[in-house]
Amino acid sequence: MTAFVIRRLMQAVLVVFLMSLIVFFGVNVIGDPVDMLISPDADQSEIERTIRALGLDRPIGEQYLYFLKGVASGDFGNSFIFGEPALKLILQHMPATVELALVSLIMAVILGIPLGFIAGLHPERRLSRGIMAASILGFSLPTFWVGLMLIMLFAVTLGWLPSTGRGDTAVFLGVESSLWTRDGLGHIFLPALNLALTNISLVIRLTRAGVRETMHQDYIKFARAKGLPESRVVGVHLMKNILIPIVTVLGLEFGGLLAFSVVTETIFAWPGMGKLLIDSLLQLDRPVVVAYLMIIVLFFVIINLVVDILYSALDPRVRLGDRDA
């Protein structure tokens, strides 16, 4: 087990190192670093001064080491637009994104599990077929287009919900969030639903498959034979046993939600780190882009590392199989 963890840790460090290489050489070799790292309004003397200050006149290897040193101490340089450290900007925008991802995860569970139960318990009903067809659509519909249509329907035509921004936030238990105010809840509903769409479909399919498989297990038959009410059989015996794969998959999907929030945040003008990334890309604010990419890579590497280690702790076949690979 220890050897496995160490090997995975080394691998994680290697991946982060490789990504730093790709991002650094991508920005500095393929693109023109002067264009990318110096604000376009700078005059000639200012450009020369900045080139020296950034060390762009040094050999590329030395520059990379300098960059690594900065990354290691959390210094990605200052944003051209905001004039603040890039890392600080991203950390400021992170809570909004995490909040959105969490709410959409909860939505996926609240909507997906009951619908999946209906489709799994009565597969022949017309309603169940409708749910399954809708879940195929949920996978195929382009997220950004659905977002636009949600705005069109609920914000423009019906006027029920606001379409942009985060609304009022309040501080409760030391956490600032839109979840604590009515206005904020109204603002988060549409973007969270938009982001949850694929995961609702996923949960429906997982629940349905789980229900249909578990229904015929002996312990369910036994529970029925004991004369337990149907609500208890379904709500406790069945539910407990299908939740494990759903929780596992949703845990893995959380990282994907953070990545996909780029799209949703842009449509709904949600002030999270995804919108910050797109704004920075469009305004050529390179330090912020580099910082975002490195942080999200780090995030994913950590998620994968934790999942890998948890899996190997739970299922010995994983780490045994790894030995001969």
Binding site: G26, P142, W145, L148, F260, V263, L293, A325
Partner: protein, 298 residues
């Protein structure tokens, strides 16, 4: 079809087709997709205007709702966009670009992925372990994230988007081909080919590869659909194709600024076209998976 089918000799293709058409939905999806491709190819001859020829576009026609008459006399059944382009024409031209990018990216990713997967399976040992570890690591990141990293580095434009899509997708092909090729390489015909002292490249590409085609085709359809979706997403975000390469994603993006004033059609119809394309490819892919999967053979 002429004559009764029973009198014909059974060829692999006919057997495949008779199994494929068992699903009416899949056949309908295939017809829909073919129709979309034909419309897109014929776009210059069947649209009332070339939306990118400035001489044919009139700004006064801008933002007209569906069914309005254009200044030039024809009816704009799907309305017009902010610059006065007929949306029906713009969508057909947009599909051409979306399909070209999707197919090109899908095909290149397929070739790269298949080559890597074959090499991994055939070489085995350390090379295999190294390649598959790289594939695993890449697959642990969402494709949209990898594509975003690359467009951030490379910039915008058709060629760059294709590179980004290929980089985001090759690993799926590599993993599939490697799994199939591993099974195939252990079979007797490969052993026979080795005994004949055929060259490695001949064995890999002429003997093993043809037997890995079925899963490649299945995954190719699904991945092409997701390449089209990914390109439109990037273009919508403004980091994909440029305004001069107006794919469906660019059209939707242009329309989104008119959303708030209730002019839904500028974004709605291009999105619908995109949806039809993606759903029909996915449904065809689903049926292909059922037909081509040897484990489900009756």
């Amino acid at each position: 079809m002429s004559g009764p089918a029973e009198t014909r000799a059974e060829t692999p293709f006919r057997r495949f087709w008779s199994e494929f058409r068992e699903s009416r939905i899949a056949v309908a999806a295939l017809v829909l997709f073919t129709a979309v491709v034909v419309l897109a190819v014929l776009a210059p001859w069947i649209t009332p205007q070339n939306p990118y020829d400035l001489a044919q576009v009139d700004v006064l026609d801008g933002k007209l709702p569906p069914g309005s008459k254009a200044f030039a006399g024809y009816t704009m059944w799907l309305g017009s966009d902010g610059a006065g382009r007929d949306l029906y024409s713009a969508i057909l031209y947009g599909i051409r670009i979306s399909l070209t990018v999707g197919f090109a990216a899908g095909l290149i990713a397929l070739m790269v992925g298949a080559a890597v997967g074959l090499v991994a399976a055939y070489a085995g040992g350390r090379a295999d372990a190294l390649i598959m570890r790289a594939v695993d690591i890449q697959l642990s990141f969402p494709a949209v994230l990898i594509a975003l990293v690359l467009v951030a580095i490379l910039g915008r434009g058709v060629d760059k988007i294709i590179i980004a899509l290929v980089a985001a997708q090759w690993a799926y092909y590599a993993r599939t081909v490697r799994a199939t090729a591993l099974v195939e390489s252990a079979k007797e015909y490969v052993e026979a080919a080795r005994c004949l002292a055929l060259s490695h490249s001949r064995i890999v590409f002429r003997h093993v590869l043809p037997n890995c085609l079925a899963p490649l085709i299945v995954i190719g359809t699904v991945q092409t659909a997701s390449a089209i979706a990914l390109e439109s997403t990037l273009s919508f975000l403004g980091v994909g194709l440029r305004q001069t390469e107006p794919s469906l994603g660019v059209l939707i993006s242009n329309g989104s600024e008119y959303m708030m004033s209730g002019r839904y059609w500028i974004s709605f119809f291009p999105g619908l076209a995109l949806l039809f394309m993606i759903v029909s490819i996915n449904l065809v892919g689903d049926q292909l998976r059922d037909v081509l999967n040897p484990r489900l053979k009756r």
